[in-house]
Amino acid sequence: MSTVDLARLQFASTSIYHFFFVPVTIGLALVTALLQTRWHRTDDREYLRLTRFFGTLLVINVAVGVVTGLVQEFQFGMNWSGYSRFVGDVFGAPLAMEGLAAFFLESTFLALWIFGWNRLSRRVHLATIWAAAAGGVMSAAFIMAANSWMQHPVGYTINDAGRAQLTSIGAVLTNPVFLRSFLHVILASLITASVLMLGISAWHLRRGSHTPAFDRSARIALVVLVPATMLNLLVGSELGVTEGTFQPMKIAAAEAQWDTCQPCSFSLFQIGGGEDDHTPTKIIQVPHLLSLLATNHWNGEVVGMNELQAQYEDQYGPGDYVPNVFVQYWSMRVMAYLGSLVLLIGLWGLWRHKRLAESRRFLRVAVWTIPLPFVINTAGWVLTENGRQPWIVQGLQQTKDAVSPSVGTASVVVSLLVFFTLYGVLAIVGWGLMARFARRELADEPGPDIRENEQELEPSY
């Protein structure tokens, strides 16, 4: 493996891992805030117990999410100094704004929420969880703005030094790719958190523990899950059309469409493929579906990869402009099929919502649905990031030109091993803790504070 491949592997694995925690943080903060709001409004103590229960899971999840996010903040400079030099003028701004606007908000108010149960009034305490949740959403906004710029650079010029230079922050923040991908990520976070909440509630309902409370949380989860999934299938398909406009290669590769077609059909799956998926045997073709997905038109034209390759060679010089087609084809299908499956499971639950506790089969399935959103999220990221290759910034800089020239293969290998080991430990301990707390009974009477060190005396000033 070359240094570029290793650096890519490192970025891909650390950010995929980080994104196991991000959607849970964003989504669970929102549903926890929702639960606490219900408590605040109704004064029904079941909601308070649920707030504390899911809040504890949120806090453990955040701990791992924060530290894995830290790594990303440094990694651009460590492994991708070529990229950092080239794009810093544009790309650094949303990252710095994320720190100033989102991280401060999220970390400060989450701590106030955790430790403030008895020190803040009920109303102010409720506000702290909403502020923390808002921090998470804003964080996603800035990161997606930065990422969307890599997919479809806007609001910049290339300066005399040959580097990208920001000319319009407004353009960066209204990038059509950004608006859709941000919504896509927020909805995915709600889906992830509600599936988690549904699955954990189902586990307790199956055991018959605290049925009234977990029946409620399961129903709330379903009410969030079904519309969020429906909406996200639409937003995702809209994002596909938008990316198809700016990154036609990404969409063509997702269908393994080598030749231009009109109208184009969508294959449910394929076998074979041979060298770089050149000769796949497509099974069950759905006529017009690809045209519809890629262009929003019944008879839309999808330009094939061969033609795009020729175009890019004219435009950018000789080179291979085709991403890994196999990965592209299957990540798209894993995402779409499992997403649809989650929707069906959600609809099933909604249909049975009045007698969830008796629907043994549904409850069993709901528990086993928990891993699905994580697979879907990963597939989605692989689809969009792999589909951009060989570019790191579409049309402006190639990935191979973006690595740090001064960093050797050995350094990358060592850091890769370090991260694998550390992240393995975090997975075992972090998820172990979450599983332990998820299986715990609801507190009969919620203690006023879940934390230690409340032995307070006089003010220190």
């Binding site: 651009f76 810093g88 003028d89 650094g92 701004a93 100033l100 400060t108 960093v407 005396l457 006089e458």
Partner: protein, 392 residues
Amino acid sequence: MTLVAFWFLVLAVLWVGFFVLEGFDFGVGMLHGVIGRDEPGRRAVIGTIAPVWDGNEVWLIVAIAGTFAAFPGWYATMLSAYYPVVLVVLIGLILRGVAFEFRSHADGDRGRRVWGAALAAGSAVIPLGLGIMLGGLLGGIPIDSSQEFVGNLGDLLSPYALATGVTLTLLCCLHGAAFLSLRTTGAALHARARRAARVLAPVTAVLVLGFCIWTRVVAGGGFLLSFIELVAVLAAIAAAVLARGARNGAAFAATTVTLVAVVASILSELYPRVMVSSLGSANDLTTSNTASASYALTVMTVVLAVLLPVVLLYQGWTYHVFRRRLRGARVGGDESESGPTIPAQREEEPPAGASAGPARAPSRRDMSEAARDGGSRRSGDAHGPGSARESS
């Protein structure tokens, strides 16, 4: 002042703010096993920073992200050059970051020991690594004319860089001891925190004096200290004197000023350079040859002007909310010396099926709230051995 100079100043403020705020968190982390001799004591010690450390750490993130935005060339060269050092800092940040949470949920003594050690080691390694990096910016590393690092690990670990790392680490340790003297009242905890400060302060003062002279020499200014270095030395001496007395607040103020002045002295000697090249000053990275263009800096300035005051406001409010002093509890003789004592606060893992929520002291406010809520907010007393009683 130009925008470029202004952004160097902003980053300097962020670095200073980070070391002042997260500095005592590091100190508390390093010392928690020494000052808290048993579990309740350690919990009390960690509890002094538990609500604030994560927010304090954001100062570092913003400093790094701000460098990326304002000086991409600096960000790219610094992080790729200091690759092994940054990796160690990241290991520290990861382990320490999860240690707070994992330790508090640890099943038994072994888990608590492991995550306690991670907390202590991480708290030491982060300022050490970052200090080595900051010192190296001024001390110089081999950088070629295309702003790329061309040296090896030995170049990064130069004596001056190591001295910077050690000075900052020890200073954070002292800062943490001073902070704990201020924030604890439990007789044994308070006494041990003060003893730690008393022992550390003179050593640190000597180190700061030596470091400031060295900084001056490295910067090519001779032996005569600049104003800011003089402040650092005087504050360090003041800290050593004050640590012997009873004025904990003044001692903490002195360590704060020392940290501010030490970090500021490195950065002020550095300016307008941002990374010194040991291969000749023509290769130095400067604010002007690494900065973003003025449009990006203007955008960032507006964002900063709007957000920073708000951030300072709510971070300040957090300190106000959590302003009370903490004390350890009487277990295993940790609080046996004198003064009123209270029992251990947090109950251990409850037996299966029992209530999960650890209890807490019913403060006056709880009582009144309980009354107001019609008893809906019952105090934790009923949970038995875990509950605490407030005394004042």
